[in-house]
């Protein structure tokens, strides 16, 4: 990269609410709130008659997900705007505006040519698509709503962010399932580094609907509820021998990325620096599931680090994409172990590994938000938890997620000097892998509250 790129704003929306405190609380507690679906959006998913009327026949455990409470969006998306948007668009706009506030950066009234948007979505505006199909297939094509059609496209959230913030730079939507979020951030950083843009929004927005739950369940990917009777929500156990599936959550995470010099010149403050990224594909993976290509993925991971001028032993924290999936967590752990296996040695220890998707849910950008938050708060004493979380090691994976505060890595033998480095990894169903390398600020940086940071209440209509 020719220019250094920093993350100067973090906006996040999820079952934890629309603020960073809620996100950090979920990380500390090891779980975000799960709620059973009530009356759902879309005819297939229950509609006016509620989820019990759906032909999807969701089992009890599939009725639980991390769902965004719409009231938390009100400070960021006034009602008159929200009415013209799908839920993922609302999530994205709320997160983008929160990121601007967090960065204390105001877009001029006329908009900016050099402010771009790269968002990702795994499954797009699913509820709107479902309702549009219901109109077309049941009521006839003439019943199709132009509004629903416009909001059904995958890039509707990115377009709404641009329209409502005046971002006239590049506008791309990456649709590479869960791997897309890291790709979006990496590509946005590349655009700034290559001097094609001064600032970029980058992130992810996704929603969870009962049909998506049914599809995950069809392929055995959802964690069953502890009690099996729907009274107790399911639990995801990343890397645990007892892991038996993931828990979904919806939401959005949008970052504001800037050229480091431009950020400093306006008095902005960096939360983290984007030091690199990369992508790879596991051609052994089926369309829905994970493959066995951990060795080749490890090679791609090492090349990603090398492009950033790093070796595996220079990484101080891995934020894994593990979600509790049996096959997904396995290939992820084996990829990490292979990447850290020094040629002819085999003894290189892994740095601390955390798997926040177990706590924050498998969609909606919780992992990305957690990565930035942990980079920002590396030197705080806040702990990832909970400390008493039961964990049963899986001998094949040989990987125990880190619990507790993050240590000062500077004295670790063999490590290249510098600020703490975080590797974020995502291996998605279908075979795509993506990585992002972040750098926390050096020790001694002051972490103070900023007046523009995410609001919880305020100027909503």
């Amino acid at each position: 990269m020719s220019r250094r790129v920093v993350i100067s704003g973090l906006g996040t929306v999820g079952p934890w609410g629309a603020d960073r405190a809620g996100l950090m609380a979920a990380l500390t507690a090891g779980a975000a709130p799960l709620t059973p679906f009530g009356p759902a959006v879309g005819r297939l998913s229950g509609g006016r008659d509620g989820v019990d009327a759906t032909p999807l026949a969701l089992p009890p455990h599939a009725r639980w997900a991390g769902v965004v409470d719409g009231s938390c969006l009100a400070p960021w998306v006034p009602g008159r705007e929200a009415r013209r948007m799908s839920r993922p668009s609302r999530f994205a706009v709320a997160a983008a505006r929160a990121a601007l506030a967090d960065a204390d950066f105001a877009v001029p009234d006329g908009g900016l040519d050099d402010l771009g948007v790269i968002l990702s979505t795994a499954y797009g505006p699913a509820a709107v698509t479902e309702e549009l199909l219901a109109q077309i297939l049941l009521d006839g094509p003439e019943a199709a709503s132009p509004f629903l059609f416009a909001e059904s496209v995958a890039n509707a959230p990115a377009a709404q962010v641009a329209r409502l913030t005046g971002a006239r730079g590049a506008n791309l939507t990456i649709t590479q399932r869960e791997a897309g979020a890291l790709i979006a951030v990496r590509r946005a950083a590349d655009a700034i580094a290559a001097e094609r843009s001064e600032r970029m929004f980058a992130g992810v927005a996704d929603e969870v609907i009962p049909l998506l739950q049914a599809l995950f369940d069809r392929f055995g990917e959802l964690a069953p509820g502890d009690g099996g009777d729907g009274e107790v929500g399911p639990v995801a156990r990343p890397f645990d021998r007892r892991r038996n599936g993931l828990v979904t959550a919806e939401g959005a995470t949008v970052l504001l990325l800037e050229d480091e010099g431009a950020c400093a010149a306006r008095g902005g403050r960096a939360l983290a620096r984007v030091a690199g990224g990369g992508e790879a594909f596991d051609a052994t993976a089926p369309r829905c599931g994970w493959g066995t290509g951990s060795e080749s993925l490890a090679g791609a991971l090492r090349r990603t680090l090398a492009r950033a001028g790093l070796r595996p032993e220079d990484v101080d924290l891995v934020i894994a994409g593990a979600s509790g999936s049996r096959a997904g967590d396995r290939v992820e752990a084996l990829t990490l172990r292979a990447a850290w296996r020094v040629a002819g040695d085999g003894s290189a220890p892994l740095p601390p590994v955390v798997a926040p998707r177990g706590a924050l849910g498998a969609l909606g950008g919780g992992q990305l938000a957690a990565a930035v938050l942990l980079a920002e708060r590396w030197w705080s004493s806040e702990a990832i938890g909970p400390p008493d979380a039961p964990f049963t090691p899986d001998p094949e994976l040989a990987l125990v997620p880190h619990i507790g505060p993050l240590d000062d890595p500077s004295d670790r033998p063999g490590r290249a000097p510098g600020a703490p480095r975080i590797l974020v990894q995502m291996l998605s169903s279908g075979g795509t892998a993506s990585w992002l390398v972040l750098e926390a600020l050096p020790k001694g940086a002051k972490w103070s509250d900023r007046p523009g940071a995410q609001r919880n209440e305020g100027d909503a209509e």
Binding site: L137, L138, P141, A158, R163, F281, G299
Partner: protein, 439 residues
């Protein structure tokens, strides 16, 4: 703006369109001056407001057999299990890669743009579910995620490098070219398969009709009285390679045909409206200027335009205003074509198929005509090529090839704009067919 000096060549093309399976039928159809937009039967359309589309024919039996064997031998199983869009993608990839094997698995990337993926197949499941059929198997819905066509190609080829799908509505295919160009320039990959595949489906057909932007007749871009777009389906794939890899292949004795160069890609956003373009064309102009800057080129270097040219009154007017800002008084004299009038609008993959068409034009030294009746709209006084292919200006020598550029534009819902700049290959730039080929 910094720009890598590494030259990126296009060495392979593949296509599926309403003209048939392959670039040969595509080029023949494009040059015929006729349109492949006609009544179709992909799904019942009697209740639709309009009744035309550019539907791909079934593959010839011999090709289907060959593709099945190819996909099976690669262990992809993509032909039997995949969606129609997956099959379009596999067929176009196989054609585009002819002669380019073996690929370096770790240094090959797949960059796609698309809009529908397996939606056509998913609609059957939705229909049964919506009618209360609780026994319907949801498995076909796995074809719906938009990354499937790119992943099917990557699996079939054993690709281990980046696989990235863009879905920024109708700008996607051209944006995918930009992502690939970045990766190739940076040396992250040596080879990239870039393109997209989309199939007709009820969702998009009904949706565009709901917006009242579909012409009841075949679309007529830049014509007076034009009344909207026409949908199409198919795939376009380009193989991009770095100069270092091409040199290495030639050292190994391989004949490498450089069919064109991809010089630059630019992006912008209208930030204006979810479905309508900015009337003043500023977004289109910004993307085109950025593409030229990325190419290190001047507007005066451009010899023809392959316009987004959907045929909707708003798009063509906005696009023309954008061209007028970039090319000034030269704009009306530039040769201009709109591939969509021949093969319909492939949505997310339209930029990919139009990139293929643009390269074929440069390679053959002619610009294919734009089918359609009626006079050119006086509000968009484009140098629209009509009736028969128009020869590109001849160059005195290959030294001027760098000033023999074509621009292809793509604009999408939500105001996403993208433009790509292509350069004629040496030799063909002087008006002759065929690109540089040497061992």
């Amino acid at each position: 703006m910094t720009r890598s000096a590494r030259q990126i060549s296009i060495t392979g093309l593949g296509a599926v369109s309403a003209w048939g399976w392959g670039t040969a039928p595509l080029w023949e159809g494009l040059c015929s001056g006729r349109t492949a937009i006609r009544p179709f039967d992909r799904f019942p359309a009697a209740e639709q407001r309009t009744h035309l589309a550019a539907q791909a024919p079934p593959p010839p039996d011999c090709l289907a057999d060959a593709l099945t064997r190819w996909a099976d031998s690669a262990g992809s199983a993509g032909w039997d299990e995949g969606s129609l869009a997956d099959r379009f993608a596999l067929a176009a990839a196989r054609e585009a890669l002819a002669g380019a094997h073996p690929l370096p698995p770790d240094a090959t990337g797949v960059y796609f743009g698309g809009s529908t993926a397996g939606m056509f197949e998913s609609e059957e499941v939705f229909d049964r579910l919506l009618r209360g059929d609780a026994d319907v198997d949801l498995a076909p819905l796995v074809s719906q995620p938009l990354d499937n066509p790119a992943a099917a190609v990557a699996r079939a080829l054993g690709v281990r490098g980046p696989v990235v799908t863009v879905s920024s509505a109708c700008a996607s295919g051209t944006q995918a070219l930009g992502l690939a160009l970045d990766a190739l320039r940076a040396g992250e990959v040596e080879v990239a398969l870039v393109g997209g595949a989309d199939s007709l489906c009820r969702l998009t057909y009904s949706g565009f009709n709901a917006l009242r932007v579909v012409d009841p007749e075949a679309c007529r871009p830049f014509r007076d009285g034009r009344a909207g777009m026409s949908l199409g389906e198919g795939a376009g794939i380009l193989v991009l390679e770095t100069e270092e890899r091409i040199a290495e292949r030639r050292r190994r004795g391989e004949a490498v045909r450089v069919r064109a160069l991809l010089r630059g890609v630019g992006n912008s956003c209208d930030a204006h409206h979810m479905t309508a373009p900015r009337p003043d064309g500023l977004g289109a102009a910004l993307a085109t200027r950025r593409a030229l800057a990325d190419a290190g080129a001047d507007p005066d270097d451009v010899v023809f335009l392959n316009a987004h040219g959907t045929g909707t009154p708003l798009n063509d007017a906005s696009e023309w205003r954008g061209f007028a800002q970039v090319f000034g008084p030269r704009a009306p004299s530039l040769l201009l074509t709109a591939t969509k009038a021949s093969v319909g609008h492939l949505l997310g993959s339209s930029g990919a198929l139009e990139a293929v068409a643009t390269v074929l034009c440069l390679e053959n030294g002619v610009v294919h005509p734009t089918p359609g009746d009626g006079a050119i709209d006086p509000e968009t006084p484009a140098g629209l090529v009509r009736g028969a292919p128009a020869p590109l200006p001849r160059l005195d020598s290959d030294l001027h090839a760098g000033r023999h550029l074509a621009v292809s534009t793509s604009f999408g819902f939500g105001g996403a704009n993208a433009a790509a700049v292509f350069q004629a290959p040496m030799g063909a730039a002087a008006g002759g067919a065929g690109g540089e080929e040497s061992a």
